[in-house]
Symmetry: none
Subunit: 401 residues, 2 copies
């Protein structure tokens, strides 16, 4: 029996509230042998108190050794097996610019390029235009219409844009038209099945029109497309868990991932305090709150160990404001690790704590990588976290008699 | 390759003996933050010695967060994936009254009800009759015969009974006839496939006859049926493990679950000492012994923390009597946790110990929830316990060359 069906069978109504605080890229590494991680270095009295009163462990985002992107990282935390549910690159790109992709959409990553007189590519990135020039070129592409489908073109930055084709029966088994080389012409799109052939026809027509509307102004006089992706078939939070869920995130990508699973997307102020204010304001309106905190990841990506420590301490400082709302289940975790030492996402399991009235406390009194190793949740797959959240919230009945 | 086939391939004959002592609902919770669990509170010198000499861990009955009933809880311990092998409600009800259901049976839960003059239900529980009145009404139902099938009617208690239909080609995709409401007539049974239509016809006839034989005496003048379940297709212990297995349990449900996997059901005296006496008497006749101890669960369900502590201590006291028989593998675990604090089954992993001459001891010297977290078995799925039992008993050969 699949886990989502199991949850649908077992779930019970309740008035309990669950807060999932995702500190992006939370886990880290010591810079040197014998050293401490970012979390071990940071002073986190509030998270430590939660670790003492709650249960801790380490979340494996996908599989041991597998480093997830933000998509699979969050899908796992939301209870969707990230190996089963895959979000195509085009859809992720659209989510990342806060474009509301939907069930009839094929989303595609676009690059402006420079074409020579013979139609071959001379610059795959059209000289990396400014964002202003990108926007102007996007405006030109927006004049293109193709009967039977709706087209949306959105600027990303520099040479990048997003194309969304909306229509019935469109497939995404379409090859990239970007040949990943200069001196050759962009490839024709071809579809791997009937629905994708339909998409390919639209695409080829779009590219031909693009060359016309862009033409006068090299270096932006062509476009290549890649990462064709239809909207994933994915059941919502309400459908699976019976939870009315709200996302309180600042960055578009995370709002988009939350929208994908049917959460309401709130628009908090851009600071952590703004997010907590929003949380307090809507506390009575939802069962589940996804709070996303970006800066543990971005400082890690920058390789800035002290800045990541500082961002962790900043997060720790607002924990009492969340607890003051008296959530029935409070979870702190990350979608993956981002060790400053590596300046990138990593596969290392992510420190996790769960606080509820019926969690079974362990001996852990500090919230960090090494302490959580001794935690009562053990090392568990991220995709199982929502089962624990639901159970601790009194929202899952007994399986079998 | 499925695990049962793997075991069939690898198993080797041996003269070793395995004792699986299941303390029902063993795991618990502290009543208050900073407190101790029932197991941590109890004085358990004998189990602690086993933990010291053996290897410990925590068993996850089904999945993190999933609370099992007794059926899935025991199937897991017996090595059957509880998400793959499901036992229908009717079969469990029949097992619970020690009715020997078999491969040709559809078992059904019945309720006596009160019908008004217009045939609608006025009381879904027929005024909760005494067990004596229940038995008298069951006797009347036993006079019903339907050609082509055998019928068995057994009293449970108050308004509840079990109906078993025995015959060839009967299905269980049949709707409940209990409308779960008063003021409406019982529903007609209908089958979801040809075999189930056959069952539905028998059922509709049975209900019509029941109304006739019960009629004179309201409040017991009707019957509703629900939880239709055929006997699960399940390979036996002998077939999978090559083990001659005996169940030494007091309560019918657990005898029934053991019978389901092909164990011989022994009839011990009603006390723990009676069970151990039976164990000693049949020691030479079997390879595997399933000892079931109910009172760690029932005291937990009652929310009686000190009583559960006492029941744990009582169990601890008989451990030397088991060890005196020199089992090659001695396992103590539970089918799930039943924290007194929750007065119910729960999802929390279950303390487990395994003692054998070839187990790899860990540093754990106390048998309880927090200590077992540091145990050598880690947190493992219950369905894998029998693999460890077989290996430690020298009954599993090498996989591959």
């Amino acid at each position: 029996m699949n886990t989502h069906d199991l949850i649908r069978d077992l779930r019970e109504p309740a008035k309990t509230k669950i807060v999932l605080l995702v500190a992006d890229g939370l886990g880290g590494l010591p810079l040197h042998s014998g050293g401490m991680t970012e979390l071990e270095t940071a002073s986190t009295p509030n998270l430590d108190a939660c670790a003492r009163d709650g249960v801790t462990g380490l979340s494996i985002p996908v599989l041991p050794g597998i480093t997830p992107g933000s998509g699979p990282g969050h899908l796992g935390l939301f209870g969707y097996d990230p190996l089963e549910y895959r979000i195509g690159r085009g859809i992720l790109e659209a989510l990342g610019i806060n474009f509301a992709v939907g069930a009839k959409d094929v989303a595609i990553r676009g690059n402006f390029c420079t074409l020579g007189a013979d139609g071959t590519i001379t610059d795959r990135r059209a000289g990396r235009p400014t964002n202003e020039k990108n926007k102007a070129a996007v405006e030109k592409l927006r004049t293109i219409t193709i009967p039977g489908v709706e087209l949306f073109v959105e600027p990303v930055k520099e040479h990048r844009f997003v194309l969304v084709i909306r229509g019935d029966g469109l497939g995404d088994l379409v090859n990239d038209t970007d040949p990943q080389a200069v001196g050759v012409a962009p490839l024709k799109a071809a579809g791997g099945d009937a629905a994708s052939q339909r998409t390919a026809e639209v695409v080829n027509r779009f590219v031909a029109e693009a060359t016309k509307v862009l033409a006068p102004e090299a270096p932006i006089n062509g476009a290549t497309l890649r990462g064709f992706a239809t909207y994933p078939k994915i059941a919502t939070f309400a459908d699976i868990y019976g939870l009315k869920a709200a996302a309180i995130a600042v960055y578009p990508m995370y709002k988009g991932l939350a929208r994908l699973v049917g959460m309401d997307i709130l628009e908090p102020g851009p600071t952590l305090h703004g997010q907590i204010e929003t949380l307090a304001n809507v506390w009575n309106d939802y069962d589940f709150f996804f709070l996303h905190y970006k800066y543990t990841d971005s400082t890690g990506e920058d390789g800035n160990f002290p800045a990541k420590v500082q961002m962790i301490e900043k997060l720790d400082a607002i924990v009492p404001d969340i607890l003051a709302l008296k959530p029935d289940v409070f979870i702190v975790t990350g979608d993956h690790s981002t060790p400053s030492k590596m300046k990138s996402h990593s596969w290392h399991p992510v420190p996790t704590l769960l606080l509820s009235d019926v969690c079974r406390p362990d001996e852990v009194v500090h919230f960090n990588e090494r302490s959580c190793l001794r935690g009562g949740l053990g090392q568990f797959y991220a995709k199982h976290l929502m089962l624990l959240a639901m159970a601790n919230a009194g929202r899952l009945g007994k399986y079998g008699a």
